[in-house]
């Protein structure tokens, strides 16, 4: 045991403070890596702040531009005087607006119709949630708990709204229209709609919604929002006429066959900020700034070269005659999975035609995109093996800019006045190759995706 402990301390002493001098260029490489990491961090920070800013902007615009539903909660100190005997002048100028929800009566209209409900309170204790014009469901009971409010008048009647109690939604007060030319004795016992009608006290029950004037639709509607779009991608692979001559036989004989049979499927993910506008709710033009992330694993074969005759190789990748009359065989002696990653920033524009139905719309159209390669992590360079067909990405010149086209179809659903949800499939095809012009292959991604966008109207 003692000996073992001695061994342990011997190993520790020997190796604990081991120092190895790094290569001359090591510091420079470290600094380059550091700069890249700092750049990435900065980008991430900008990205986060950008998203946060957009979110704040979206929320604040939602709050600012959403029209507040005004309820007139100004309780007229519990007393509204009315001279019932006073005739109602027929010229009383009453606009439709005055009947609308929450409109404070003008002095003039108050003088025209003053209902004396002094010391009288009518309140409601609804047992159910009240819908517009459905007071009969509410189980109206007279109590002395709350005070009626004069909301508006017209020539025939005075409209009294009962302020809400805790059980009634503020946006939906009870509306009672009291005729002016009839004597009303208080307290009023309100049983239900029919009881009121029987008593001649409820000629019409006005719904706040019904009384609102119809809003004119805007021709141009601006939107901003965000979306996600997971896409299943594969590639077309074509030989490039300008490829380096030394790769030609490999490409023709082995590489193209293997790769084209492979038809690799890759998931890529897009998160985007959307801006756009709709014209007459029929035509839409949307622009997006998206962050794209591709990730896939590739089998990389370790390729060794032997000069024949030699041991039988497992998978022969190429056989090239040499000057001695024999041949050089490349063969695969093993494999492992290597992750490839591509990150793009994409700017896209798409035009759509919207076909509106009763409760939803169908959006269909096409678009164009430009992607900028932000970062890529492809296979490690190994130029020693000219015929290693799986090392094809080694040092591959990646295109910084890519252009693509897309087509989409989907459902548009408006949620309330401000929010629009878009969902539907899309198909895309990259017009340019992932690799540079002089590279031996042209690889164009194409595939299908599913858009999910949430937009908020900003005007």
């Amino acid at each position: 045991m003692e000996n073992k402990e001695h061994i342990e301390s011997f190993i520790k002493q020997s190796l604990d403070n081991l120092e190895v001098q790094p290569g001359i260029s090591s510091f420079e490489i470290s600094m380059k890596k550091l700069e890249a990491a700092q750049k990435e961090k900065r980008k991430k920070r900008i990205f986060i702040w950008f998203f946060a800013g957009i979110a704040v902007l979206g929320v604040s615009s939602l709050v600012l531009f959403t029209p507040a539903v005004k309820t007139n909660n100004t309780i007229a100190s519990g007393v509204l005087h009315s001279d019932i005997q006073k005739p109602v002048p027929s010229e009383a100028p009453v606009s439709r607006d005055e009947i609308s929800l929450g409109k404070v009566p003008t002095k003039e209209s108050q003088s025209i119709a003053e209902v004396n409900i002094n010391n009288t309170a009518v309140s409601v204790s609804p047992k159910k949630k009240m819908g517009s014009g459905k007071a009969e469901k509410a189980g109206i009971q007279p109590t002395a708990a709350s005070t009626p409010v004069l909301l508006a008048t017209n020539r025939e009647s005075v409209i009294v709204g009962i302020p809400t109690n805790n059980e009634v939604s503020r946006s939906e007060p009870v509306w009672i229209s009291l005729p002016l030319n009839k004597a009303i004795s208080f307290p009023v016992t309100v049983q239900n709609d029919s009881a009121l009608k029987d008593a001649g006290l409820l000629p019409e029950l006005i719904s706040p919604k019904d009384s609102l004037p119809a809003k004119k639709q805007k021709n141009y509607v601006w939107y901003a929002g965000a979306g996600i779009d997971p896409q299943l991608t594969t590639y077309t692979i074509q030989s490039n006429k300008n490829r380096d001559a030394k790769y030609a036989p490999v490409f023709t004989d082995i590489y193209s066959t293997n790769r084209q049979n492979e038809l690799r499927k890759v998931w890529n993910y897009n998160a985007s900020l959307k801006f756009g506008f709709a014209y007459k709710r029929k035509w839409m033009l949307q622009a997006a700034i998206a962050y794209q992330y591709y990730q896939y694993y590739e089998t990389v074969y370790t390729v060794d070269t032997i000069v024949s005759p030699g041991p039988p190789p497992v998978i022969v990748t190429s056989v090239v005659p040499n000057s001695n009359g024999g041949s050089v065989m490349s063969f695969s002696s093993g494999s492992n999975l290597v992750k490839n990653e591509f990150r793009h920033m994409q700017v896209s524009v798409e035009g759509s035609r919207v076909f509106n139905f009763k409760s939803f719309g169908i959006r269909t159209g096409a678009g164009f995109s430009t992607s900028y390669l932000v970062a890529a992590n492809t296979l490690v360079v190994d130029e020693n093996h000219a015929y290693t067909y799986r090392h094809r990405y080694n040092g591959a010149p990646l295109n910084k800019w890519m252009f693509g086209s897309s087509a989409h179809i989907g459902v548009v659903k408006n949620i309330g006045n401000r929010v629009q949800l878009q969902a539907g499939p899309n198909a895309f095809y990259n017009l340019s190759s992932m690799f540079g012009k002089k590279y031996l292959i042209a690889q164009r991604p194409y595939g299908v995706g599913f858009d999910l966008n949430l937009l908020i109207r900003i005007n």
């Binding site: 061994i7 190796l15 001098q21 090591s26």
Partner: protein
């Protein structure tokens, strides 16, 4: 290092010459650590560079508690482990056959150089080498090793025991070879 606090302050401000000073001071130590975990010299240097990037990026989180060198070494250890895990190289044998207890004498210990000891350590499988490093040199407990490598404490213990025996065997063989060489 005399002016370490000053250098660290400058490094926080991204001062290139201070970063070079810190690098010159720390790089041999960190590379010495990395080659214990990763036998391939280039790969080890790559890991050391990554560790340096992390050190520079996280300098603000170093509050001056404990030695800076220890803090940087911990980062290097974690970076090396991440690199090994990424390539799925930390594997342990399930079937642990009983290994003969091999002893080594003090004379034998004196005969072997650090380089030869490193070679012996390098010829161990990655899993064994990692455990030897973590337990013997970094002095982590088996519980901590278990957490780092995603194995149980008892697995760490048994793997270490076996790894140590294999290492001693290799060291012994090396000393025999040395004896033959100089005979």
């Amino acid at each position: 290092m005399k002016d370490l606090p000053d250098i660290l302050e400058k490094c926080k401000r991204n001062d290139r010459s201070a970063q070079a000073d810190l690098y010159n001071y720390l790089a041999p130590k960190l590379l010495g650590l990395c080659v214990r975990y990763i036998t391939d010299r280039d790969e080890a240097e790559d890991v050391m560079q990554d560790a340096f990037v992390k050190v520079f990026m996280n300098l603000k989180s170093y509050k001056g508690e404990g030695s800076f060198e220890g803090w940087a070494k911990r980062i290097a250890v974690n970076t090396a482990l991440t690199a090994l895990k990424k390539k799925n190289r930390i594997r342990f044998e399930r079937d642990l056959a009983i290994v003969d207890n091999v002893d080594i004498t003090e004379e034998e210990q004196q005969q072997i150089s650090t380089k030869q000891l490193m070679a012996c350590l390098g010829s161990l499988p990655d899993g064994y080498r990692t455990i030897i490093n973590l337990f013997l040199i970094e002095e982590f407990s088996h519980k901590e090793i278990g957490e780092k490598l995603g194995i149980t404490e008892s697995t760490s213990r048994s793997q270490f025991s076996r790894a140590k025996q294999v290492l001693i065997k290799l060291v012994k063989k090396q000393t025999v070879d040395n004896g033959n060489k100089y005979a």
